[in-house]
């Protein structure tokens, strides 16, 4: 029999009209879940778009890139020789420039020989038409193209003419190759060349013209920020997924309740002849509609959240990886679709149980609301079993290795912990029940146990939020403590001086030899280490290193042997990623050397190696000799800084003192974790709302249990206090449970995720203050969530309580 849809729809929808709060909760949960997810997706999408744009603009995307062999310089003359041999190569000069307080990337290009020739410059370089514009671009002081934001950041004192171009790469000054050489103190030297495709046949091979020249195919190479930052974005995504799941708990409890409370209605509808398909169809459509509405709201909210977080993310990516990402945010179809998709998926997951339950509902069975609670009690055993299965899967995921497997193991552990929560709380209450004396006490414990099933999901959400906060907080705290100690060791020298030219550097060293306690040249070259782009340093033998350098592991007499050129030091990330141990040989230009020691090197994504200076210069005779550390009594450092600036007219930023270097590093560090901190706080907020949602919806159903207690003589106010106390008790139990889970999470983050993502392992340091703080936050959350339902209970009229008996519930 066909039934008109209208009345069925009306009857089912009337539920929401009678319980608007439930509707609000459902939409809120879904909206928050979608917002957190799509916000993070928006951030990731923006960053990826920036990387792609940078790759295109820098000619890395489309063109083969040619770089000098490690330690050798590529000169203007090399480039001209390649041109005169018929190769269509264009020079590039790249570097970082400090202008006052601002650091920008400098990209020097040669407009006349760039890919496609001068007619092709309009796209990336703005308009160079006409001899006037070209002249301004190539002759001093030069003209730089940059985004309006970059120009605003540089201020009016930039040493060249600036032209705004919204399509310029982020925080980058695009200038002529000659202007870039002058700005960066690289006269006559090039960073790389691009090679246009389809070079003519029969040319003298490039490697014959420039021995050792390295060719990197288009679309990749070491400078690809997307590869470096992949782990950072994976971290963000994992957090977003966690937030989404927490948000989903709210939805799940509201949807479950709505299905449960409409069992009677469904039975009636079925009884008067409405087909099961019609009922299920209407309910599914109802869910889909809510998912779309909440999804759209969530996407908007997520966009706002991402826009607020974006500057912090941009700062992090720039500081940690040197990847330039804009602080702005564009609407991109990718993450909007992903947000709406996740909202639909989440609602589907949350509603599936309700729909299946409705489909299986026996036509003649009673429509009791309590059926939910009874079923939930039976489910406890299954949850325990599922949790054990998940725990068993964890070592498998860990054994698999890698970042994704690490996250999978973490997900297993968290899910298992969440599933075990009601089992553990129930057991604890049962134990408590045996010890409690008095009728009221026994009722309180028994009633709490009974309520537990209704609050399970909300408590799980709270537990997950707390555990995530403890875990991430402990990791950040451990990292901060280790990092600060490490900075003290690593930045032992008082001043660091960078010269513009080698002549200047030699003069600076001669001057410092008289004025300072010691001058320690630190010279370096880019070189592949184990097939991965890395950096090799040459250092002199000095007590500064012997006393301070943060070695994690070393052979006896490491410094003597390093100075004698008998081996090499490598950083921790290189040792871990390449599975190297002390004594293993490391392939270096000019022959392999055994590993003498491993040092910690936080915040650096690339492999690194250190050689004794003699050995280094023998291998890399052409390495630029510009950088040196200076030892001097700290009190004399400022005067020496002034003397250096005055004597050599050094630009700002050429001299960095220890305090400044440390503060910059710590700043970068704090920014890196600002985003995770913000996400954590949001997660806790969502859990609070979930708890409130559970308590509020339960309150209405619990009248049946409370009325007899009231009738036995317990005043309403006391009843309300007990209700609030129960909520606090459950929250406290959950918080206690969350502590070991959170610490386990911290251990996994420090020992598995960090190692896989960054290549370093950090010692775990407990943060008792943080745990106490979070415990209080959990109680406060519970207090806020439970206050309203308790307040309402206290104000319930006796008539309402009496009606419970009249309704025979």
């Amino acid at each position: 029999m066909r039934t008109p849809l209208g009345p069925v729809l009306g009857a089912l929808m009337s539920h929401w009209r009678r319980r608007p709060l439930q509707l609000v909760l459902l939409l809120t949960g879904l909206t928050l879940a979608t917002a957190l997810w799509s916000g993070v997706q928006a951030i990731n999408a923006e960053a990826r778009a920036s990387y792609a744009q940078a790759a295109d603009t820098l000619g890395r995307g489309r063109l083969e890139r040619l770089e000098p062999p490690p330690g050798a310089a590529l000169t203007d003359a090399d480039w001209a020789a390649a041109r005169r041999a018929g190769w269509d190569v264009s020079p590039l000069v790249e570097g970082r420039l400090r202008l006052g307080e601002v650091r920008v990337s400098v990209l020097g290009v040669e407009p006349v020989t760039r890919d496609g020739g001068p007619g092709d410059t309009g796209e990336d370089l703005g308009d160079l038409a006409g001899p006037g514009a070209l002249r301004a671009f190539i002759t001093p002081p030069g003209r730089g193209w940059a985004t309006p934001e970059t120009i605003a950041g540089l201020g009016p004192d930039a040493p060249l003419d600036l032209v705004a171009d919204p399509d310029a790469p982020r925080n980058t000054l695009v200038v002529d190759v000659g202007i870039a050489q002058a700005l960066l103190g690289m006269e006559g030297r090039l960073t790389a060349m691009t090679l246009a495709p389809d070079s003519m046949p029969g040319l003298v091979p490039l490697t014959d013209l420039i021995p050792g020249l390295l060719r990197h195919p288009p679309g990749g190479g070491d400078a690809d920020p997307a590869a470096l930052t992949a782990s950072f974005h994976l971290n963000l995504t994992a957090f977003a997924l966690l937030s989404f799941i927490v948000g989903l708990f709210i939805t799940q409890s509201a949807v479950g309740l709505a299905f449960e409370q409409r069992r009677g209605l469904v039975r009636t509808l079925r009884g008067i002849g409405v087909g099961l398909g019609t009922v299920l169809g209407v309910m599914a459509a109802e869910l889909a509609l809510m998912a779309l509405v909440a999804g759209a709201l969530g996407v908007l909210l997520g966009w706002a959240m991402a826009a607020a977080l974006m500057p912090g993310v941009a700062a992090t990516l720039s500081g940690l990886y040197g990847a330039e990402v804009g602080a702005g945010l564009a609407l991109r179809p990718g993450w909007i679709a992903s947000g709406l998709g996740m909202a639909l998926l989440g609602t589907g997951i949350a509603g599936a149980r309700g729909l299946v339950g409705t489909a299986r509902l026996p036509l003649l069975a009673g429509g009791q609301a309590a059926a939910w609670a009874v079923a939930a009690a039976q489910a406890l055993r299954w949850q325990g079993i599922a949790a054990l299965a998940l725990l068993a899967a964890m070592p498998l995921a860990l054994a698999w290795g890698g970042l994704v497997a690490g996250f999978a193991a973490m997900a297993c552990a968290l899910l298992a912990a969440a599933l075990m929560l009601p089992v553990v709380l129930d057991a604890a209450l049962r134990l408590a029940g045996r010890r409690v004396r008095g009728v009221l006490g026994e009722w309180f414990v028994a009633d709490t146990r009974q309520q537990l099933s209704g609050l399970t999901l909300a408590l799980m959400a709270l537990m997950l939020a707390l555990a995530a906060n403890i875990g991430v907080g402990t990791m950040v705290g451990s990292f901060r403590a280790t990092f600060t100690g490490w900075l003290d060791q690593r930045l032992a020298a008082e001043l660091y001086v960078t010269a513009r030219t080698e002549d200047e550097a030699a003069a600076v060293r001669a001057f410092l030899a008289e004025e300072a306690d010691a001058v320690l040249p630190i010279w370096s070259v880019d070189a592949p280490l184990g097939g991965v782009p890395g950096r090799v340093y040459g250092i002199v033998d000095h007590a500064t290193y012997r006393d301070n350098w943060p070695l994690l592991d070393a052979v006896p007499g490491v410094w003597d042997r390093l100075a004698a050129g008998q081996g090499v030091l490598v950083n921790e990330q290189m040792a871990r990623r390449q599975g190297l141990a002390l004594g293993d040989p490391v392939d270096l230009p000019g022959g392999a050397q055994p590993i003498l020691g491993v040092y910690s090197d936080y915040g650096n994504p690339r492999p690194q190696a250190m050689l004794g200076m003699e050995d280094f210069l023998a291998r890399f005779p052409a390495a630029p000799r510009l950088y040196q550390a200076v030892r001097i009594a700290p009190a004399r450092a400022p005067a020496l800084t002034d003397a250096l600036i005055e004597r050599f007219d050094l630009p700002p930023g050429a001299i960095v003192d220890q305090a400044r270097a440390k503060s910059v590093s710590l700043q970068i560090f704090e920014r890196t974790f600002a985003v995770t901190g913000a996400l954590n706080l949001l997660t806790l907020g969502v859990a609070g709302i979930a708890l409130w949602a559970g308590l509020t919806t339960l309150a209405a159903m619990r009248l049946g249990q409370l009325a007899p207690v009231w009738a036995s003589g317990l005043p309403r106010a006391r009843l309300a206090r007990m209700e609030l106390g129960r909520t606090l008790l459950l929250a406290a139990g959950t918080a206690v449970y969350a502590v070991p889970v959170g610490l386990g999470l911290a251990w996994m983050l420090l020992s598995v995720i960090n190692v896989a993502a960054f290549g370093w392992r950090l010692p775990m340091q407990l943060q008792p203050g943080l745990i106490l703080q979070l415990g209080l936050a959990a109680l406060l959350t519970a207090l806020l969530a439970g206050a309203w339902p308790a307040f309402q209970l206290a104000r319930l009229t006796p008539a309402r309580l009496l009606r419970v008996f009249a309704d025979e519930r």
Partner: protein, 347 residues
């Protein structure tokens, strides 16, 4: 000979009102100006004159292949100063270079263009031993030589390449008054000399294969800072090599006040300067004529010069027409034609 200008990037429209063809009529403040009293000196003046705004080394060759076909070859290097020379060295030098190479057959035109900055070795000209180059293209004194009497010339582009050896059979020719050549009623002028007496052997590489060629070539050297009047919009330039050994350069600058000039060169290298009163240049029909009638009544010359390939367009950043000619009439021979500022059909 008049030639093209060096222009980078997007070319201004042809015959832009107020700036002459391709910006050649722009102001010249700060640049050196041609001096009628100056005496040209060699090999010094084979080299570059960076204090002047523009300069070119311009070789055209009329060749016959072993297959009996007529071919034309062009090798041109232009120098342009974006600003008067200052203290800037290396990349900061305000000089830019442009080069064109072409091979013309009766049915096809192969063109290539190169650009370079001055000061860094990618392109340049040295006076002695003579060498002019941009990238791998080169026109330089042959091994053992120093001046421009014996040259090796090579260039290549998409689908073509050539390698030629040229040997001068006569002296250098100074146009105008000792190499000071007037280009308009307003007194615009350039320093201008030629070597029109080369014989050539070499090889062309074309899509169909390699062709051995022999023939003649003509080298033009010119430098100036403002060769055009603002109202002058283009020119037609012809360099004719008669079979009797004489050479004729005939040019007309078009515009509000057309200006005709030329040089009749004897087989011994003697030069007679011509102007509108003793030289006639009559374009054939069409906006881009494929035929010119050239008359020098005082020398009994009345010839018709016809393009070997009427579609010899140089599809470079500033397009123009440049290709070989066959000459008939009172004298026979071959030659080269350049037309600038004329509208390219469909271009």
């Amino acid at each position: 000979m008049l030639a093209l200008v060096l222009l980078l990037a997007a070319a201004p429209a042809f015959a832009q009102e107020g700036s002459g063809f391709a910006g050649l009529g722009t102001e010249v403040e700060g640049f050196a100006l041609p001096d009628p009293a100056a005496t040209l000196e060699f090999p010094r003046d084979h080299g570059a004159h960076p204090s002047f705004r523009i300069e070119w080394w311009y070789l055209t060759a009329n060749l016959t292949g072993a297959d009996g076909q007529d071919y034309g070859v062009q090798w041109t290097l232009f120098r342009s100063a974006l600003a008067p020379e200052g203290p800037g060295k290396g990349w900061a030098t305000p000089q830019v270079w442009m080069a064109h190479a072409a091979v013309t057959t009766a049915g096809s035109q192969h063109v290539a263009e190169r650009f370079a900055r001055g000061g860094v070795g990618q392109a340049g000209v040295e006076a002695a031993p003579f060498a002019a180059w941009i990238d791998e293209w080169r026109m330089a004194a042959a091994e053992g030589g120093t001046g421009i009497d014996r040259l090796e010339v090579s260039a290549r582009g998409e689908g073509f390449a050539y390698r030629l050896e040229a040997e001068a059979q006569g002296p250098l020719v100074l146009h105008g008054a000792g190499g000071y050549s007037v280009k308009g009623q307003g007194g615009q002028a350039s320093h201008y000399y030629s070597q029109p007496f080369y014989t050539v052997t070499g090889t062309l590489s074309l899509p169909a294969g390699e062709v051995a060629v022999t023939g003649t070539a003509w080298l033009d050297r010119e430098w100036s800072s403002q060769p055009l009047d603002r109202s002058q919009t283009g020119w037609d330039w012809l360099a004719l090599s008669f079979d009797d050994g004489r050479r004729l350069m005939a040019a007309e600058v078009r515009g509000l006040r057309p200006f005709v000039f030329g040089s009749l060169i004897g087989a011994d290298g003697s030069v007679a300067s011509l102007d509108g009163s003793d030289l006639g240049i009559e374009a054939g029909p069409g906006r881009v004529p494929a035929r010119f009638r050239v008359t020098v009544p005082g020398a009994g010359i009345d010839v018709t010069a016809e393009a070997v390939n009427p579609e010899a367009w140089m599809t470079t950043s500033v397009p123009y027409w440049e290709g070989p000619l066959r000459v008939r009439g009172s004298a026979t021979g071959r030659g080269y034609l350049e037309m600038t500022g004329r509208p390219r059909p469909g271009g």
